[in-house]
């Protein structure tokens, strides 16, 4: 490979790091969030792009996509397909209550040097056909120097409800950055404040910066995003200016690592919320 091409790839790859504060928003877009009866299907688009919610950059990956039924047990993802710019899949909402659909990622990224040559750990960006498997922490030789490791963990989840909303799927694990809604995410109404709590390792995430960005970017001039911060109790209040789909994203960097030699931990949480008219 030409060195220029390699550099371009590296640059592109850096931009697609799963939990950077930088561009390239990952999003899930459900066809709806409020359904009646137990005979409905929700169809979901998954993509990575900056303009919400337009597919123009990379498809979302379905390998790690999971479904949680209202009782918390695993559900089934159907009709998954990945195109050039988006992935799509369906979930049959055959049980009443609130479903969770989404993916979690956890990886260790970084670099080390052997004999002055830098090697990278972890894959940046989407998998390329024919590319060798990325190096892992286990591949760091004893004589490596300049070891720099960062733990990256993120969640990207959506919530859809058939019939009356339930809360079983909001059960938290106490690990990483989690969403513990006070206002049910499928009961959001324009003009009314919603309250969401965020937890880091099970404790309130105080002072966490939250971005809330409305969809429909192409049809207006301003990005129209809201930058909010959680209080001491980890709760953020969001007042929705209008009905529509909103992308919510929170990022946090700290040093509470569990991997030996990792110095930094980057956590992210992403969800897409539907706000209905009053």
């Amino acid at each position: 490979m030409h060195s220029l091409a390699r550099r371009l790839l590296a640059a592109a790859a850096l931009l697609s790091l799963p939990a950077t504060l930088s561009a390239h928003r990952m999003w899930l877009l459900p066809s709806g969030t409020v359904f009646s009866g137990t005979d409905s299907w929700v169809t979901v688009d998954a993509a990575v792009s900056n303009d919400l919610f337009f597919f123009d950059h990379q498809p979302g990956r379905l390998e790690n996509m999971k479904v949680w039924q209202p009782d918390g047990t695993a559900g089934q993802l159907q009709n998954g397909a990945t195109g050039r710019y988006r992935s799509v899949f369906d979930v049959r909402l055959d049980k009443p209550g609130t479903w969770k659909i989404g993916s979690q990622n956890a990886a260790v990224m970084g670099s080390f040097k052997v004999g002055g040559v830098e090697k990278r750990i972890g894959r940046r960006g989407p998998p390329l056909p024919g590319a060798p498997a990325p190096l892992t922490v286990a591949d760091i030789p004893a004589n490596a120097t300049d070891v720099k490791l960062t733990e990256v963990a993120g969640r990207n989840e959506i919530f859809v409800t058939a019939g009356a909303p339930t809360t079983t799927v909001f059960a938290t694990t106490g690990k990483g950055l989690e969403f513990a809604p006070v206002t049910h995410p499928d009961e959001l109404v324009a003009g009314q404040a919603a309250r969401f709590r965020f937890l880091v390792d099970g404790r309130p995430a105080a002072g966490l910066k939250i971005s809330v960005i409305p969809g429909g970017k192409r049809y207006r001039d301003a990005e129209g995003g809201m930058e909010l911060t959680t209080g001491a109790d980890g709760v953020v209040a969001v007042t929705w200016p209008t009905a529509g789909m909103y992308w919510l994203n929170a990022n946090l960097t700290d040093a509470k690592t569990t991997t030996p030699r990792a110095t930094e931990r980057r956590l992210s949480y992403t969800t897409t919320l539907e706000v209905l008219t009053p």
């Binding site: 371009l8 504060l21 561009a23 900056n50 950059h57 001039d221 990005e223």
Partner: protein
């Protein structure tokens, strides 16, 4: 009558020698994630007609899977008014994106006298988009407008 029209013609002929200038300001924005805006600057005859692109600033050198040209259509007004049929890169027109600051362009010397609308459009990744229009008269016109979000002062001195 005859002498005055002669004078007028003389004035027109003389105009190109002292070329007018356009000043465009890209404001510094206090945002977490900033990307330099894509920008297009063009003139349209006030009575309608073909737009003349004076400058388009984009990620000229970005190639590969998603070249810099991919996002040119985000300059929506410029794209519709003629950007889409312009072969890029174009000599003396395309250039790299600019950092916040004030930039000076010269009006083309072969611009015919008349009424024009100067258009300046900016579109920023993860940011907003803005179009500032300034009616101008060439020659001798001076005009100014100011953007609200993505653009600062746009000044034209068409001497």
């Amino acid at each position: 009558m005859r002498p005055s029209s002669f004078l007028l013609v003389a004035g027109v002929v003389a105009a190109p020698a002292t070329a007018g200038t356009i000043s465009v300001t890209i404001p510094r924005l206090p945002v977490a994630e900033y990307h330099k805006p894509y920008m297009a600057i063009w003139l349209e005859p006030a009575g309608g007609g073909a737009a003349r692109t004076l400058a388009v600033w984009y990620d000229v050198r970005k190639g590969g899977n998603e070249p810099g040209t991919k996002w040119l259509s985000d300059l929506r007004a410029w794209w519709r008014k003629g950007g889409r049929s312009l072969a890029l890169p174009a000599n003396g027109v395309s250039g790299a994106t600019r950092a916040p600051g004030r930039y000076i362009l010269t009006l083309p010397t072969d611009l015919k006298p008349g009424a024009y609308v100067l258009n300046v459009e900016a579109a920023r990744e993860t940011g907003g988009r803005e179009l500032v229009t300034v009616p101008v008269t060439v020659p001798n016109g001076a005009a100014q407008a100011t953007g609200k979000t993505e653009l600062g002062a746009v000044t034209l001195s068409a001497r």
